[in-house]
């Protein structure tokens, strides 16, 4: 039975937009080459072979994983060059100067991508107590509440900055 469940869970984590594969928080930590907090702004769109990439400049304010950097060039597929526009379903766009936490991955070709497109994007906000919160939209299949062990459907991911940092440190050392 254990094997069946494993296969089932593995299949269930595949979703598409684009064709995406859902990653857990720990998987994102493990697979990312950098995790940073910063402000993101579109700098330009360039063609790499057949693909247009929108290049975003991230002004890093906090580093959770990976080599230190003050600015990082992050790419997302699609964009507009002159009068030509290339479009892919499921690719996010960011308003200028948005503050985000990003899980990043640098390819062998040297392009830095966001893990799982929107999966590796957390927004930054404050809660009522004034704590900084990193959160992401809800996920598709069930989560298990770590304290009660009961299913917690559709809860999204939400951490205080301190909790986030701890989870990343723990995941990165696994």
């Amino acid at each position: 039975m254990k094997m069946l469940v494993t296969v089932l869970l593995a299949l269930a984590t595949t979703l598409t937009g684009t064709t995406l594969e859902k990653l857990s928080f720990d998987e994102m930590v493990a697979k990312s080459t950098q995790i940073v907090r910063g402000r993101i702004a579109l700098s330009n769109v360039r063609q790499h072979g057949a693909i247009y990439y929108s290049h975003y400049s991230v002004q890093v304010s906090e580093q959770f994983k990976g080599p230190a950097a003050r600015t990082i060039d992050v790419v997302l597929p699609g964009g507009t060059i002159g009068r030509s526009q290339q479009t892919f379903s499921g690719v996010p766009t960011f308003p200028a100067d948005t503050e985000l936490v990003l899980f990043l991955w640098t390819s062998k070709a040297g392009l830095t991508h966001i893990i799982g497109l929107t999966q590796g994007v957390f927004s930054v906000s404050k809660n009522a107590a004034g704590q900084t919160i990193f959160s992401r939209e809800s996920i598709r299949d069930g989560l298990v509440d770590g304290r009660t062990g009961r299913p917690a459907t559709d809860g999204g991911m939400r951490f205080t900055a301190t909790e986030f940092s701890t989870r990343v440190s723990r995941g990165a050392t696994k």
Binding site: G17, E21, A50, T80, R83, T87
Partner: protein, 823 residues
């Protein structure tokens, strides 16, 4: 609701269903969507080529390789190319060098392999010039290039897997102009997609593509429904999804325009449930509700939509009980929904169903009609809380009381649901309905009911150099055996031993091909096992590896025939390409397994470049680097308005790039036989095609004075023969009032055959069927272009008007309707 007998309106409407990459002109309703699509007038033969980047994946599963990947990609493209109601065709354009096509002017699709970040398996989409083209068929935004991006690392998603193939099909759909749909077809997100490798697209996908590129017959005999989705106050809802669903049959959906109006076309006549539901909310990994690219207005501003409301069946119910009738060539208008606004998205959505025929989970769940496998495991948003109800739409399949419970293997995230099959239940797809309180969710094609287990392969062995024997369970004569995605040719089935013998496609010596069995019910051996493997041993049929081009240089801006030599060439199995849309292999003939003739168009912009030549033969990929150079030399060339010439009839060619000096200085041959030139009008030459040419490919050559045009290949046919008369006895004509009678001796005369079709002393080979029953003529008398046959009507021929089908030396005579009566 009113019914409009308005075929004209159907044909002229640009306000169509489905969902594409959409632009809208400024203004208010009625909204006409302006989709992004390929401009067919810019494509030769309505065909867009796709080039596959030579880099290929970098990391494969064991035994996987680039040839297998290319073969699967070709298979995925053929899925869309084979839609009969769409004009668009796709053609393999070869293996391209990185960056070689950046300046190519011809619209095409680039298939590239990228180091994709973790969590991404592929994406695809169009590149457009932001200009609206106003055509007689409606406004559109022209796709200049499209790209399909697949992963470089496929170690965990090998080329033969269901997922790899279905991902390629999905991304090709985006590249052709389709967005996400919500009825579980190829263009649904993978969450709810219910397609399988053997059933890779559903009617919704076919309608989606056909709306962009309709043939003249697309709407023939089909109907439409139209209406509006609005809140109680009359406010229209944009981006609401409306689905027409036949119980147990097809489901076709669309999204509403910004004013809430919608139209669903391409529906087969019949009864449909209709329902409206909001887009699923934006979820992890998605940028927008339902992961759709939102429509934009003429200023490029994104148009909002996607408000949340309670899902409702037409006219206003939570359960499907009233159907809407769709009649052929009619639009059922006024199917309006008034819906209730909700502040939060529905809790139930994005449900996946699984079954476990073996150690692998199969999605959607495949259950046995016998009840031997009657449970499905499900996951999705909102399933885990109590009070959930699940029903099958259609009645014959039900969920028993206490049939829903947590799945023991993963009770926190999965439920298990039992199903019962009633007396009238049959095989096929079952649509599911999930509900709790005011949450309602419909999952089209949520289950598939089958009557037997998936085929399974136990062993694959060679009979000889070309044929293989596949043994296993669940195999039968209709089982398709695929080798890296290419179907083998059926030879025989040993029912007692459960063994299939098939001819395998050509593969490279020393390679391993992956063998999968597909049942006619949509199941495959991949449901229970990985692909079987077959090692190729370099048998004699595989020995001739080299391919050759009859020329190494072609002039830019011309079309001409090129001879290609190789081995084991076959129609449907062998594809050629130069890795660029600027060199288009427009037509290929295979006069023999070792020889092909191809008409090749070279775009003017290709001058000065050198291109690879690729042959994909079966699952064998051969690439010759730098095989063709494009020169800027000026050359005359010919084109044929009709690519088929009838032997003995008149025809025309167009002469390009050279002057025609005088009629007397003109020479034209067809397969080296001189043709009589009847006249020249500017660059158009009219001539008589030599009579007595053998049907098949022929090369046309043209010379004017000292100048010779590049040759071109055409198809030559014989004028079609007809049955001139059928008489009984001493010349009594057979008519409806005087039908042919059982046992009666009949005389049949065929006219219009080539005069030399049966040289003296030879006997043509004649076959004849009446009502499908084979008849053997007892006399066969050829004379000039005529043929007389004598035969007797067999008593097993059904009475009534029966088709009389005759072939002479393999060429079909025009069919004839023969009245038959017993006495």
């Amino acid at each position: 609701m009113r019914k409009l007998l308005s075929l004209a309106a159907l044909l002229s409407s640009a306000s169509f269903g489905y969902y594409h990459f959409v632009h809208y002109n400024p203004g208010s309703s009625p909204f006409n969507s302006i989709p992004e699509k390929f401009d067919l007038s810019a494509l030769n033969g309505n065909t867009v080529t796709y080039q596959i980047s030579e880099g290929g994946p970098a990391n494969y599963a064991a035994t996987d390789g680039f040839a297998a990947v290319v073969s699967q990609i070709r298979g995925a493209a053929r899925v869309w190319s084979g839609i009969e109601t769409s004009e668009l065709r796709l053609r393999f354009g070869g293996v391209s060098q990185p960056g070689a096509n950046q300046n190519a002017q011809t619209p095409s699709i680039d298939v590239v392999f990228e180091d994709l970040p973790p969590g991404v398996n592929g994406y695809g989409g169009p590149t457009v010039k932001n200009e609206i083209v106003n055509a007689s068929s409606g406004a559109f935004v022209s796709i200049q290039r499209s790209v399909v991006v697949l992963a470089k690392d496929i170690a965990n998603r090998p080329s033969w897997s269901e997922q790899y193939f279905l991902t390629a099909v999905h991304e090709f759909g985006h590249a052709l102009g389709l967005q996400h749909s919500f009825v579980s077809g190829a263009m649904s997100t993978e969450i709810t997609r219910a397609t399988t490798k053997i059933r890779p697209i559903f009617p919704d996908d076919e309608v989606g593509l056909s709306l962009l590129y309709p043939t003249t017959k697309f709407r023939e005999g089909l109907g439409a429904v139209a209406g509006r989705v609005e809140f109680g106050g009359g406010e229209g809802i944009g981006l609401a999804s409306v689905v027409a669903m036949a119980p147990g049959g097809a489901a076709v959906g669309t999204l509403t325009h910004p004013d809430g109006t919608y139209r669903i076309e391409g529906l087969a006549p019949g009864q449909y449930f209709l329902y409206a539901h909001p887009l699923p909310p934006t979820l992890q990994g998605e940028a927008t509700p339902g992961n759709v690219v939102l429509p934009v207005d003429s200023a490029g501003r994104t148009m909002a939509g996607g408000q949340q409301f309670d899902t409702v069946f037409f006219p206003s119910s939570r359960v499907p009980f009233a159907t809407v009738r769709v009649d052929p060539n009619q639009s059922t208008d006024g199917t309006n929904f008034t819906v209730t606004r909700r502040n939060s998205p529905t809790a139930i959505h994005s449900v996946q169903t699984y079954s476990f025929p073996g150690q692998v989970a199969v999605k959607p769940a495949h259950l046995y009609l016998s009840g031997a496998r009657n449970l499905a495991v499900m996951t999705g948003s909102g399933l885990m809380a109590g009070g959930l109800q699940i029903a099958a739409i259609g009645g014959a399949v039900t969920v028993p009381s206490n049939g829903i419970r947590p799945y023991a293997g993963a009770p926190e995230s999965y439920i298990q649901t039992d199903f019962q099959f009633g007396q009238f239940a049959g095989t096929g797809s079952v649509h599911l309905l999930f509900s709790r309180n005011n949450d309602l969710y419909v999952l089209p094609y949520g289950l598939r009911v089958v009557d037997k287990a998936a085929p399974q392969i136990n062993s694959v062995g060679r009979v000889d150099a070309t044929d293989v024997v596949v043994s296993g369970s669940g195999l039968n004569a209709s089982t398709r055996i695929a080798f890296d995605g290419v179907a083998g040719t059926f030879r025989s089935f040993d029912e007692e031993a459960g063994r299939l013998t098939v001819t395998a496609p050509v593969a490279a010596p020393g390679s391993t091909v992956h063998v999968v069995a597909f049942g006619s019910d949509g199941q495959s051996s991949l449901f229970t096992q990985s692909a079987a493997t077959l090692a190729t041993n370099g048998g004699s049929e595989l020995a001739a590896a080299s391919v050759g081009l009859s020329t190494a240089t072609l002039p830019a801006g011309t079309e001409s025939v090129v001879e290609i030599t190789g081995a084991n060439f076959a129609e449907g199995m062998t594809s050629f390409g130069f890795g660029t849309p600027d060199i288009d292999v427009r037509r290929v003939w295979f006069p023999s397994p070792n020889r092909a003739l191809a008409n090749i168009w070279v775009a003017p912009g290709a001058a000065g470049n050198t291109y690879n030549f690729t042959v994909l033969n079966g699952v064998r990929l051969t690439t010759q680097t730098g095989a063709l150079q494009v020169s800027s030399a000026r050359s005359g060339w010919i084109s044929a308005p009709s690519s088929t010439f009838v032997s003995g009839a008149t025809a025309t060619i167009q002469v390009n790039g050279m002057a025609i000096s005088s009629l007397t200085a003109v020479q034209l041959t067809v397969n080296d036989r001189p043709a009589q030139v009847l006249g020249v009008d500017g660059s158009t030459v009219m001539f008589t095609v030599p009579s007595g040419l053998t049907a098949g490919v022929a090369v046309v050559r043209f010379q004017s004075g000292a100048e010779t045009a590049l040759p071109l290949a055409v198809t030559v046919t014989q004028p079609q023969a007809t049955i001139a008369s059928v008489t009984a006895g001493f010349g009594t004509p057979i008519t409806a009032d005087r039908p042919a009678r059982y046992g009666e001796t009949m005389n049949l005369t065929v006219a219009g055959l080539p005069e030399n079709f049966a040289p003296a002393g030879t006997q043509p080979k004649v076959t004849m069927t009446i009502g499908g029953i084979e008849h053997r003529p007892f006399t066969i008398s050829p004379s000039g272009g005529f043929l007389q046959l004598q035969f007797a009507i067999q008593t097993v021929v059904p009475q009534g008007i029966q088709p009389l089908v005759v072939t002479v030396d393999g060429v079909a005579v025009a069919p004839y309707s023969l009245p038959v009566r017993a006495f």
